[in-house]
């Protein structure tokens, strides 16, 4: 099912709120389940499962191994685990926001919120820039393997410095062209048209959007009422 970009923004705000506020364990669990369900509905069951698994693991570790803090290792360990639990909702919300929402939908919503064009335009190019760079990176890694400069993808992780050295030259040399090619494409496809932009996927709020937005309000209110 499709969510409206507005709903996705609301979830981001909500996740940021939870990140800043101090919430109880019960609240935390409910919230993680909620985000997971959103991911499920959004069409990413895989991501939902993985996040739930990570959360359960972190939770399990914090009530067992790292229950008592006594030496340096357990201090570092519990620090990482608490940090991880703290940041996880934000990551889940970000995944939810990025996946399955098209450029045009974001543009339309940002335009409605009166975000100026000079901000939207570079945003679109930048967002499109990363997938191309990733694609280039894949090709560079293939080339490095053919050249015998690395033996497998693993080598990039084992020798990070050398990897950066090899990857950087072709990456930089391509980044410039990619940026200018993408800019010319966005321009020729009429992105800077002054009037209203539409989206082929429609832009009205659906029933599901209202439900999610209402639940978000409950989450914020619930922080004071229940916790």
């Amino acid at each position: 099912m499709r969510f409206n970009p507005l709903t996705k923004l609301v979830i981001i705000v909500l996740a940021t709120f939870v990140f800043l506020a101090n919430v109880s364990l019960m609240y935390e669990i409910v919230f993680i389940v909620f985000l997971g369900i959103l991911l499920l509905i959004n069409g990413d069951p895989y991501a939902a499962m993985i996040y739930w698994l990570i959360f359960s693991l972190l939770l399990l570790l914090s009530v067992t191994v790292f229950k008592n803090i006594h030496d340096t290792w357990s201090i570092i360990g519990s620090f990482l685990i608490i940090g991880g639990r703290r940041i996880l909702p934000t990551i889940m919300a970000a995944t939810f926001a990025i996946k399955h929402t098209h450029v045009s939908e974001w543009m339309r919503s940002l335009q409605r919120m009166h975000v100026p064009f000079d901000i939207i335009l570079p945003l679109v190019v930048v967002f499109r820039f990363f997938p191309t760079l990733t694609d280039n990176l894949k090709n560079i890694i293939k080339a490095l393997q053919f050249r015998g400069l690395i033996s497998s993808k693993l080598a990039l992780i084992v020798h990070p410095i050398r990897a950066i050295e090899y990857v950087l030259i072709p990456m930089i040399s391509s980044a410039d062209t990619v940026a200018s090619e993408l800019s010319s494409v966005v321009i020729t496809r009429g992105i800077s048209h002054q009037g209203i932009h539409t989206s082929i996927f429609g832009d009205h709020l659906r029933f599901i959007d209202y439900i999610v937005i209402t639940s978000s309000i409950f989450f914020i209110a619930g922080r004071w009422l229940i916790d």
Partner: protein
């Protein structure tokens, strides 16, 4: 009408275009021809206004259109543009939203957009592509999508930069039909291309550009009457529809020099697609320079990635000199010259690039001389021209003792001279003990380079063409 009057264009004191005069009428097709680097793309970009607005530089002279000077705000509804590089010509992750993009930007309503996409997709028989991810498309499929997106708003002017460079024969016919229809609807179309055969009947004028000047303008009539003469005079290529007529014969080899590559019952598919590559048996040896051709999306690029060990096949065996090799060993013995050659160059000088840091022997130097690289040894590889980069990549493969060298679409976007040079380079290379495989749609190039061409269709090899069996007929099923 669009007219350029005494237009000059320079960038950092380099004069790129000089004294360009050109008139373009509605319903006319204008073809820009000329060697690589002659300034064809610059002419297109000046008309589109991307020069100087986006690319900078200094433009003088008069550029007039029947309407107001171009404003970037109404761009898409005025000009349909297809760029040279199909790889970075899209903004959206999938074909459907890419097609919608231009219409969304001018604020068209949902119903009209869906209707138009439907029409275009039917016109191009592209139903299969509609829900595909852009990054998963083959080179030709991407180029076709770019063409479709450019027509969505039915603008009065089209600028197409080498639109046929990655297309197969059927797709080129589709492109021809599209241009004809645009012309009949009264749009102006300006095309820069090296392949000319599909344009001969369409074009109202041919403009030969040489070194930033307009060398001559040829009318349709003149072109029809003196095609051969003009082709030789201005070094134009592909004036008649090419057919496979291989001219090279097999190479004699001693058994000790023989390199063979076989594949049996090879199967592969991309995640969640049905079986793509399905090859019963394939036997290649370095007695031939091997070409692979066939329609867009047939699986050519996929096949060579399987054969060089870059991706893992799901079923079947690959034998190198009769031995079954692991994927790693395949990679070790082979080298793929990619289309984006600049992504395969890693060092700061050509010399280091080629030698990987070790000393060059006398024999190495002879090889470099024959590849005409000696003068370039101190240059930074990334500053070389496309053809030069290609030669550097080939040299690195040869000096590191690779046995299988594969090139994917090595001539796309190449002019006649460069294509001929590459062909004679390959003729020279085949004396060495290597197996050469070339994937290409360029039949002219295959004709002068290969002694055996495999035609692929839906993941299978349907025909094998050799010099004595021109129309081919060996089916492997």
């Amino acid at each position: 009408m669009i007219s350029l009057h005494k237009v000059n264009y320079s960038q950092n004191k380099n004069k790129i275009l000089q004294d360009i005069n050109l008139n373009i009428w509605p319903g006319e097709v204008t073809v820009l021809c000329g060697e690589s680097g002659s300034g064809k793309s610059s002419v297109l970009n000046i008309i589109s206004g991307l020069i100087p607005n986006l690319y900078g530089g200094n433009v003088t002279g008069e550029i007039r259109a029947h309407h107001e000077p171009l404003s970037f705000d109404d761009y898409a509804s005025e000009i349909g543009m297809v760029f040279q590089n199909p790889k970075s010509q899209f903004i959206n992750p999938d074909v459907y939203s890419e097609l919608a993009f231009a219409m969304e930007n001018v604020g068209m309503d949902q119903k009209t957009m869906i209707q138009r996409i439907d029409n275009v997709v039917n016109y191009y028989h592209a139903q299969d592509l509609l829900n595909r991810a852009m990054f998963d498309l083959s080179g030709g499929q991407r180029q076709m999508t770019a063409l479709m997106s450019a027509t969505m708003l039915k603008p009065p002017l089209y600028l197409l930069d080498e639109p046929s460079s990655n297309l197969d024969v059927t797709a080129i016919e589709q492109l021809r039909r599209q241009i004809l229809d645009l012309k009949n609807e009264g749009s102006s179309v300006i095309i820069a291309d090296h392949r000319l055969y599909y344009l001969i009947d369409l074009a109202d004028q041919f403009v030969v550009i040489d070194n930033g000047h307009i060398k001559c303008q040829i009318s349709r009539q003149e072109m029809r009457e003196n095609a051969t003469l003009l082709a030789t005079k201005y070094r134009l290529r592909n004036l008649t529809a090419p057919r496979l007529r291989l001219t090279k014969t097999r190479i004699m080899r001693n058994l000790s020099d023989l390199i063979t590559l076989e594949a049996h019952n090879l199967k592969f598919r991309y995640h969640c697609h049905e079986s793509l590559i399905d090859i019963k048996s394939l036997e290649l040896s370095n007695r031939d320079v091997i070409g692979i051709s066939g329609e867009n999306g047939a699986g050519k690029s996929t096949l060579i990635q399987l054969l060089t060990g870059m991706i893992k096949h799901h079923e079947g065996t690959i034998l190198f000199n009769g031995q079954q090799l692991s994927r790693k060993q395949l990679v070790k013995n082979s080298f793929l010259v990619m289309q984006d050659v600049h992504l395969q160059l890693f060092f700061e000088t050509v010399e280091k690039e080629i030698s990987n840091g070790s000393r060059l022997t006398e024999q190495d130097r002879q090889l470099l001389e024959s590849l005409k690289l000696t003068k370039l040894l101190k240059r930074h590889p990334q500053t070389l021209s496309g053809g030069e980069k290609q030669r550097v990549a080939i040299a690195t493969a040869l000096l590191s003792g690779k046995k299988i060298i594969v090139m994917d679409e090595p001539t796309s976007g190449m002019d006649y001279g460069n294509m001929q040079r590459l062909s004679s380079l390959i003729a020279h290379l085949k004396r060495a003990e290597i197996l050469l495989i070339i994937v290409s749609h360029d039949q002219e190039f295959l004709n002068m380079t290969c002694s055996k061409v495999l035609i692929m269709n839906h993941g299978r090899i349907t025909t094998v063409v050799t010099p004595d069996n021109m129309n081919g007929g060996i089916h492997n099923d």
